[in-house]
Amino acid sequence: MTVTTPRTDSSEVRADSKSPLLEVRDLKVHFPVKEGFIIQRKVGVIKAVDGVNLTVYPGETLGLVGESGSGKTTVGRAILRLEDPTDGQILLEGQDITEFRGSRLRDVRRQLGMVFQDPFGSLNPRMSAGNLVGEPLKIHGLTQGRADYRRRVAELLNLVGLNPMMAGRYPHEFSGGQRQRIGVARALASRPDVLVLDEPVSALDVSIQAQVINLIKDLQDQFSLAYIFIAHDLSVVRNISDRVAVMYLGKIVEVGSRDELYNTPKHPYTKALLSAVPTSDPVLERSRQRIVLEGDIPSPLNPPSGCVFRTRCPVATDECSRIVPELRSVQGTQSAACINGDWYNKAARPNEKSSTPQEV
């Protein structure tokens, strides 16, 4: 199958809900740290993403949660090949796109879209809203003639709740919420199958945040899009996701369906994250127990041995510094990586090859 496969093929794949749309296998993105002027020596490596596996099915939303420095944005960027993976594979509809270059990469990017966090920095200030939204149409040659182009741009602006009359305006003439709508319209222009949304609402005011969240949800229903929703706000992620993965220092520590993860979190980090989020019910707040983690996220340049979370973990034991925990099945679709979990040693091991946890 070549990349220029007509869309009819991909909708056939979609019809079969069991086959994943996007798969990330053992993804690693390492950044070299260099020192010296003119003659640079490599003095270390930052393991921004270190062995991440993800699967996204057509039409679903996978939430990717974690604190700054957890590598969630790098995963998103690697999926779009905005960052070159050091190791691992990215499969779109079963096709390995990791090594794609040039025009093949451009073609496959039509199927992938990205919405960025910063609605101010991610739009070229010298392009009008219409041109911003229309650019992907031109790049991928998706419209025939001027009239068709204009009609499609107007349609896209309408879709995200902007008046097509505003097409001639420039980004600075729009509010933050409207700019984010332009970002969404731009990402949708090439009719992608997967959209990576990197903190799409965190820069917006709460009332505007809700508008954009609802818009994103409605568009998903309308076009049966698959989303990878990257955010640090656990309440927002819960509202939008079908499944959720929690990242810490380049690794996934827990993954599961939304209800599994939020109702019965297993990993101590997930538990701490959830308890750190205040609700807006004062009565409930008075009775809620809060797990306050100590210290900061460690430097990815020099991560702790064994379990990366052990330096802040309330239940860490000596064992944790020696054993790198792997994701093991808890129940249903939920997996977590903690050797102190009661399920951990009972769990069916994922495969024979990695059956023994690595000794450090």
């Binding site: 005011d205 709460v206 809700a210 508008q211 949800k217 309440s235 509202n239 750190a276 004062p282």
Partner: protein, 335 residues
């Protein structure tokens, strides 16, 4: 909590002159803060909550800003009538402030010890050595490990969470009567945010310090505040105890805010009910209620005159003509 009044803001108005007209950032704001009380000041960007704080500290950048009217009575004295020298003795000593951006509010070229020493020497007349040992003690108090050596560090050498701890240590160093925390944890990760808020709560409880928490995060207020002021377009629209405002909101804007945020205690599949439209242009506010265009309860009267903040039920105040019709229906509570 005592009922002694610590801060009494009366009809405060702070305006900014801009090329597009006068922005009434704070417009006739009045509220009272008691000793040891924690007040949450909530609202979206541009609602005037930060300018209210800056006005209390007399730090409004001028020009273009100017406090045009009102009184700010703190411990019986009007801060607005003080000379520059007098207000400098209040700032940092009786009123401490923590800002959102710990990187820009610390001086990058001075060591942390040097910066922590300053208020102690200036306000409490300590010698350099006294101040240094006190500074180390303060750093320990806010949970910075290895405090002695940290005194020699510079702001860029420590993490964002640590910087915010240094800011807290500095703001509380002279044991002020009032601490203003302006979006103090907004830029931080959730687990760090939890740490910082717990430290602020623990220390201010111990010192009996009153706190004004300025934030757009309704959850933070729900957890830490005793009372709440909701601001919109330069005015307080609703005010009362935490339970009054959160559980029985009487202003459509408060209801809108609460319905806009997904929270962990509500049903996960709930559809958010955003407030429609956008924040109005502050330089060109309508004659009537500034929230009218976004309000589901708006009637003709709302376009004619802006409702005053009036007593609805004891300490519960609201500024809405239609407050009797306003209520929040909470759907899908799971916890």
């Amino acid at each position: 909590m005592t009922t002694e009044t610590l801060l009494d803001v009366k009809n405060l108005s702070t305006h900014f002159r801009t090329p597009l007209g006068t922005v009434r950032a704070v417009n006739d704001v009045s509220f009272v803060l008691h000793e040891g009380e924690t007040l949450g000041l909530v609202g979206e960007s541009g609602c005037g909550k930060s300018v209210t704080a800056l006005s209390i500290m007399r730090l409004v950048p001028s020009p273009p800003g100017r406090i045009v009217a009102g009184k700010i009575v703190f411990q019986g004295r009007d801060l607005l009538a003080m000379t520059e020298q007098e207000i400098r003795n209040v700032r940092g000593r009786d009123i401490g402030m923590i800002f959102q951006e710990p990187m820009t509010s610390l001086n990058p070229v001075l060591s942390i010890g040097r910066q922590l020493r300053e208020p102690l020497e200036l306000h409490l007349g300590m010698t350099k050595n006294q101040a240094l040992s006190k500074a180390a003690e303060l750093l320990q108090l806010v949970g910075i490990p290895d405090a002695e050596t940290r005194l020699n560090s510079f702001p860029h050498q420590i993490s964002g969470g640590q910087r915010q701890r240094v800011m807290i240590a500095m703001a509380l160093s002279c044991e002020p009567k009032l601490l203003i925390a302006d979006e103090a944890t907004t830029a931080l990760d959730v687990t760090i945010q939890a740490q910082i808020l717990e430290i602020i709560k623990e220390l201010t409880d111990r010192l009996g310090t009153a706190v004004i928490i300025i934030t757009h995060n309704l959850g933070v207020v729900a957890r830490y505040a005793d009372s709440v002021n909701v601001m919109y377009a330069g005015r307080i629209r609703e005010s009362g105890s935490l339970d009054q405002v959160y559980r029985e909101p009487k202003h459509p804007y408060t209801v809108g805010l609460l319905n806009s945020v997904p929270t962990l205690d509500l049903d996960a599949d709930i559809r958010l009910e955003p407030i429609r439209g956008e924040i109005p242009n502050l330089a060109d506010l309508p004659i009537g209620c500034a929230f009218m265009d976004r309000c589901d309860y708006a009637v003709e009267r709302c376009g004619e005159s802006d409702p005053e903040l009036v007593e609805l039920d004891g300490t519960h105040l609201g500024a809405c003509w239609e407050h009797e019709r306003v209520s929040r229906v909470i759907t899908g509570v799971t916890v």
